[in-house]
C-alpha cells in the first residue's frame, strides 16, 4: 500500500543555477485521481520553476476551491501558499500583491472556480492587471462533485452519464482578450513541451498572465463524445506556433528562417522564440489574435499556444505609483516619519 513517495531520488538529478534539483520544487504526494491532467500541470509548474531557478521562498501560490485548487499542495512545497474561499482567490491575491510586490504570484484555479462562482473576481483581476500568473485547470466538469457540466463545457459535449450539454461554453481566452489581459495563452496538460515554456514566459511577464490549460478529467470527462478528453483534444488541437523560452542573458544558439518565425522580447529581457506561426497571426496584435481564435473555433479546432502578449505593460503597482518596498520591509521611521513631516503635510494642504 503506497500513499508514501519514497525519499530516494535519482543520484544524477540535474541542478539549476541556484544549485537546486527538481526535488526542491516538489510538493506532497497528489491525492487526485490517477491520470488527472492537473497532476501533469503541477509537473509542468515544477519543471518551469526549476528551469527558471526561482527561489521557492520568493513565490506565493494562491488558490480557491476545487480539484484544481488542491494542486498547490502538490507542487512547490517550500513556497508560500494561500488556499482561499471558492472563487475568491483574485481578491486574496490582490491584497497579497499590493502588500508585497517582490514575490512571484502563482494563481491556480479551475473552470468552476473561475468561470462560475469566481467570475466576478476573475474579471477584475484582469482589469487591474495584477502581476501574476493565473492558471485555469480547465476540465469542463465539476470533478469534485462527480462530473456535472461546468460553464466551460462545450455545447454538444456528452458527459460520462450520456447526457448532452445544452449550453454554450464560456471561452476564457476570448474573455481575457476582451477584458484586456496582457498575456493570454491556452495549452493542454498532455503537451508539456508547449506548457512549460508558456509558464516560464507567463512568470516573466510583468502583468496579468492567463493560461487556460485544458486538463482532462480522467474519471468523469474522458469518455467518447466529450470535447475535453485526451483523445478529442489531441485530435482537434492546433497551435499558434511552437514556443521556445530563452531566459535573460542566455545566448541564442539556434537560428530560424525568416518569415515563419517571430521573436518577442519580454520585459525582463528574456526572449520568446515562436516558430511555425499561424497564418496572419501576430502575438502582439490583439485583432489578429481574436481573428485566429475565431477562425479556429469556426473550424472546430482548439487553438493553443501563446495567443496574445503585450510585453511592455504596466502592472497595478506602476499604475498606482505605490512604494517600491514591500510593506513588511518598511521601517518604522518611514511608516511614521514624525510630527515634523505631519506638520509639513498639513501646511501644504492649507
Amino acid at each position: 500500500m503506497t500513499y508514501i513517495r519514497p525519499t530516494f531520488r535519482h543520484p544524477n538529478l540535474p541542478k539549476n543555477k541556484i544549485n537546486y534539483t527538481r526535488k526542491d520544487y516538489e510538493g506532497a504526494l497528489s491525492t487526485l485521481c490517477a491520470g488527472c491532467g492537473h497532476d501533469s500541470i503541477s509537473g509542468a509548474i515544477i519543471q518551469a520553476c526549476f528551469e527558471l531557478a526561482i527561489e521557492p521562498h520568493r513565490l506565493a501560490k494562491m488558490s480557491g476551491i476545487g480539484c484544481s485548487s488542491k494542486t498547490p499542495a502538490y507542487f512547490l512545497g517550500n513556497s508560500h501558499g494561500f488556499n482561499s474561499v471558492h472563487g475568491r482567490m483574485p481578491s486574496v491575491a490582490t491584497g497579497a500583491y499590493l502588500a508585497n510586490r517582490d514575490l512571484v504570484y502563482f494563481g491556480v484555479s479551475g473552470d468552476g472556480d473561475t468561470a462560475s462562482i469566481g467570475m466576478g473576481q476573475f474579471v477584475h483581476a484582469i482589469r487591474r492587471n495584477l502581476n501574476m500568473v493565473y492558471i485555469v485547470m480547465n476540465n469542463g466538469c465539476y470533478g469534485l462533485t462527480k462530473g456535472q457540466d461546468s460553464a466551460t463545457a462545450d455545447a454538444g459535449s456528452v458527459s460520462k452519464a450520456g447526457s448532452t450539454n445544452m449550453f454554450n461554453a464560456i471561452d476564457l481566452v476570448g474573455l481575457g482578450l476582451e477584458l484586456g489581459a496582457t498575456f493570454v495563452a491556452r495549452s493542454f496538460s498532455g503537451d508539456k513541451t508547449q506548457l512549460i515554456p508558456l509558464i516560464k514566459a507567463a512568470m516573466s511577464h510583468p502583468g496579468f498572465a492567463l493560461i487556460d490549460v485544458i486538463s482532462p478529467c480522467v474519471t468523469f470527462n474522458n469518455n467518447t463524445g466529450s470535447t475535453k478528453s485526451y483523445d478529442y483534444v489531441r485530435e482537434h488541437i492546433e497551435a499558434t506556433s511552437t514556443i521556445d523560452f530563452v531566459p535573460t542573458m542566455e545566448e541564442i544558439t539556434t537560428s530560424y528562417e525568416e518569415g515563419d518565425s517571430k521573436e518577442v522580447t519580454l520585459h525582463d529581457g528574456s526572449i520568446l522564440n515562436l516558430q511555425k506561426l499561424n497564418q496572419g497571426w501576430n502575438p502582439e496584435d490583439k485583432l489578429s489574435a481574436m481573428i485566429a481564435l475565431q477562425n479556429a473555433k469556426s473550424k472546430g479546432e482548439i487553438l493553443t499556444g501563446l495567443i496574445y502578449i503585450e510585453p511592455n505593460t504596466q502592472s497595478l503597482h506602476e499604475v498606482l505609483g505605490t512604494c517600491q518596498t514591500p510593506l513588511n520591509a518598511l521601517k518604522e521611521d518611514i511608516l511614521c516619519p514624525g510630527i515634523d513631516a505631519l506638520e509639513a503635510l498639513n501646511q501644504s494642504l492649507r
Partner: protein, 598 residues
C-alpha cells in the same frame, strides 16, 4: 531505438541485478520476501534448489550479488543478501522430507566424481534423484572439499557444513573417502558412463626462489596446506610472531586462524596497495578487528634465518605507478629494506591447479599453462566422457561459481548419457504474474524502507580468539532479518508497460521518485540517454523503450535506479503500467530429465 524485446527472458532477468550477478542465478528477491514473511523453510529451499549450500554460502559467499544490488546505487549500502540467506538457514524447519530421494530403481548409468567439493556435490545432488548411480572419490575423511579444508570453523561451523554435505550424501551416494585417485586412466577403465573432475586448485603458490626459503622451511608454511592441516587437527599451534604473506581471502583466514593458535603478533604483509587487495572488504575489516595490522606496498625480499632458526623477513617498500592503460607497476620507494620479526611465515599468495594424476594420453588436451581445455558452457573436456567443474575447470574462483558449474556439468552429463547434443541446453523456467491487489495495493510490500544496512553482531573477541571453533558472527536475529529484508527493493516486481493502453497523461513521468520515465521523440540510444528526465549514465543498465505511441513519441524508462515502488502503476489510469513478478530459475538436470521421461 527499436522497442525493447521483453519476451527475451534475459531482459527482465537483467533488471534483477542480484540474481543476474549470481553465478547460480539464485532468485534473491523471492527468498528475501519469504524471510520477511518468516517462511524460512521455503526461503531455504529456494536457495537449496539454486545454490545447494545456503548455510555455508550464507556465511562465506564471495557475494557477487551485493555490489550489483540496486540499493547500492540509490543509497549507500546494498542489502545484506548473504547474511539474510543465513537467517533462512538458521531458522528453517525440518527439510528432510523436502529433499528429493534417489529412486529405488536407477537408470542404469554410473558416474564417477573425483573430489568431494561443492562442484562434485552439486553434480551428485542433481543427478542422484534422477536415477544415476554416483560414486564420489576424495582423499579426505569427509566430503566438502575446500569448504572444509580452507574455511576456518570460526567462520563456518563444522555442523553447518556436515548437515548440508550429508543432505546430498544421504541421497544414496556411494562415497569413497580416504581414497586418493592417482590415475584417471584407471577410473576410465572402469564401467563409468561419465567422469566429473572437481578437484579444485589444490596447490598453493610458494616463494621457492626467495633467499632463506630452504633454510627456514620448518617454519614456512603454504597457506592452504596449513589451513587444511588445522582443519583436520594435525596442527594446533603457531609461533607468537607470525607473518602472513598475501592479500586474498586465504591470507585473511590464515591470519585470523593464527590469532587463535597462539599467534599474538600477527601481521599481514602484502605487495599491492590496501585498496587493491583481492580479499573482500568485510574480511579485511574482520582481520583488522582482531588486531591484525595489514602492511601494504611491501615486497618480500628474503627470509632471515640464523642458526637454522627463522628470525623474520625483509621487505622492500614500493609504491604503485599506473601507465596510460591503467596497468600497475610497483616501483621501489628507495627506502631501506624493512625487517619484520617472525617465528612462522604463512605464504598465501594464490593457488594453482595441478593434475599430476591425469595421464596425458587420455584424449584430454592441456594448454600451455597445464590447464585442461574445457568448454565454458558444457564443461566437457576434449575427452567426451570427462567433465570438469569448480576451480579445476577454469581456474580458482569461489564456492558459488563451483556450484553453478556443477549444475551445468550435471546437465551435460545427463544429456551425454542420453546420447543427446550437449549444446541443446534447457531454457530457464520463467514466469511473469501481475501483483495488483487493489488501487494502492500490491501483493509485495512496495513501500521503500529508508533504513540503512544493519550490522551483523559478532561474538566477544575475548571469547572467539581463544576458541578456534567458536563462530565469530552471530547472524541476524529474526527481527533484524525482517528489517534488513525490508530494505530489498523487490527488483523482480517488474514495471511492465503495455503501449496500446497508454493515453499519454504523463502521470507516471510526474510521479516517478527517481525520474526513470520519460516520454519523448525517439532517437539513437546514445542520444536518448542524454535527453531523459535524468541522464542515463550507467551504461550497464538497459533502457526500456516502447513502440511509437499515438502522439508519435515513445516511452523510455531507464532501469538504473528504479525503486520498483509501483507508483507509476498506481498513478496509471489505464493500467498501461503494471507491476508483475518475474520469476527466473535456471533449469537443473533433474528437471530436464523429468520432461525428457514424461
Amino acid at each position: 531505438m527499436e522497442p525493447t524485446n521483453v519476451n527475451d527472458p534475459e531482459y527482465y532477468h537483467k533488471v534483477v541485478d542480484c540474481q543476474y550477478a549470481c553465478p547460480a542465478h539464485t532468485p534473491v528477491p523471492e527468498y528475501i520476501r519469504l524471510i520477511a514473511a518468516e517462511r524460512y523453510t521455503e526461503a531455504y529451499m529456494i536457495n537449496w534448489e539454486s545454490n545447494v549450500f545456503p548455510g555455508v554460502l550464507g556465511r562465506t559467499c564471495d557475494r557477487p550479488c551485493e555490489p550489483a544490488c540496486r540499493r547500492g546505487r540509490v543509497e549507500e549500502e546494498p542489502v545484506a543478501i548473504c547474511r539474510l540467506k543465513r537467517v533462512a538457514a538458521d531458522n528453517k524447519g525440518n527439510i528432510k522430507n523436502l529433499i528429493p530421494k534417489a529412486p529405488e530403481k536407477g537408470n542404469g548409468k554410473k558416474v564417477a566424481l573425483i573430489g568431494a567439493g561443492p562442484a562434485s556435490l552439486t553434480v551428485a545432488r542433481d543427478l542422484a534423484p534422477i536415477g544415476y548411480e554416483i560414486h564420489v572419490f576424495d582423499e579426505q575423511i569427509k566430503g566438502g572439499g575446500m569448504m572444509r579444508s580452507q574455511i576456518p570453523s570460526f567462520r563456518l561451523p563444522e555442523h553447518v557444513l556436515d548437515e548440508e554435505v550429508n543432505n546430498i550424501l544421504d541421497m544414496g551416494i556411494h562415497t569413497h573417502f580416504k581414497t586418493y585417485v592417482s590415475s584417471l586412466k584407471d577410473v576410465l577403465a572402469k564401467d563409468y558412463d561419465a567422469v566429473f573432475i572437481g578437484t579444485g586448485a589444490p596447490r598453493g603458490r610458494d616463494l621457492a626462489d626467495l633467499p632463506g626459503r630452504k633454510e627456514g622451511a620448518a617454519n614456512i608454511h603454504i597457506g592452504i596446506e596449513w589451513l587444511a592441516s588445522v582443519a583436520f587437527e594435525h596442527t594446533n599451534k603457531i609461533g607468537k610472531n607470525v607473518i602472513v604473506l598475501g592479500g586474498g581471502n586465504t591470507a585473511m583466514d590464515c591470519c585470523r586462524t593464527s590469532r587463535r593458535l597462539g599467534g599474538e603478533n600477527v601481521k599481514v604483509v602484502v605487495r599491492s596497495p590496501f585498496t587493491e587487495m583481492k580479499a573482500s572488504p568485510w574480511e579485511k575489516e574482520d582481520a583488522m578487528h582482531e588486531d591484525i595490522p595489514i602492511l601494504d606496498n611491501h615486497v618480500p625480499k628474503s627470509f632471515v634465518v640464523e642458526d637454522g632458526q627463522l628470525k623474520g623477513m625483509t621487505f622492500e617498500k614500493v609504491h604503485a605507478v599506473y601507465d596510460e592503460k591503467g596497468k600497475r607497476s610497483l616501483l621501489p620507494t628507495g627506502e631501506a629494506h624493512v625487517f619484520i620479526e617472525a617465528d612462522d611465515v604463512l605464504v598465501a599468495i594464490g593457488q594453482e591447479n595441478s593434475f599430476p594424476w591425469i595421464e596425458r594420453d587420455l584424449g584430454i588436451e592441456f594448454d600451455k599453462w597445464e590447464m585442461p581445455k574445457v568448454d565454458a558452457v558444457t564443461f566437457q573436456s576434449t575427452n567426451p566422457k570427462v567433465f570438469f567443474g569448480g576451480d579445476a575447470a577454469l581456474g580458482p574462483k569461489n564456492v558459488i561459481t563451483a556450484v553453478a558449474q556443477g549444475h551445468q556439468g550435471a546437465i551435460s552429463i545427463d544429456l551425454f548419457c542420453q546420447g543427446k547434443s550437449l549444446n541443446d541446453r534447457p531454457s530457464p523456467y520463467t514466469n511473469l504474474v501481475s501483483q495488483k491487489m487493489g488501487i494502492h495495493e500490491w501483493s509485495y510490500d512496495s513501500v521503500v524502507a529508508t533504513d540503512h544496512r544493519f550490522v551483523v553482531a559478532q561474538a566477544d573477541k575475548a571469547v572467539t580468539l581463544k576458541d578456534r571453533k567458536k563462530e565469530v558472527e552471530l547472524g541476524f536475529n529474526k527481527l533484524e532479518g525482517f528489517k534488513e529484508a525490508q530494505r530489498c527493493l523487490n527488483c523482480d516486481a517488474q514495471t511492465v508497460f503495455t503501449e496500446n493502453r497508454c493515453i499519454e497523461c504523463d502521470a507516471c513521468m510526474d510521479i516517478c521518485p527517481t525520474s526513470c520515465i520519460t516520454f519523448t521523440v525517439n532517437g539513437t540510444e546514445e542520444d536518448l540517454r542524454t535527453r531523459l528526465m535524468a541522464p542515463a549514465l550507467n551504461l550497464d543498465q538497459e533502457l526500456l523503450v516502447s513502440g511509437t505511441l499515438a502522439t508519435g513519441r515513445v516511452m523510455v524508462k531507464d532501469e538504473d535506479v528504479c525503486l520498483h515502488c509501483g507508483l507509476c502503476a498506481e498513478r496509471c489510469p489505464t493500467s498501461a503500467w503494471d507491476m508483475q513478478k518475474f520469476f527466473y530459475n535456471v533449469t537443473k538436470a533433474h528437471h530436464g530429465c523429468q520432461t525428457a521421461t514424461a
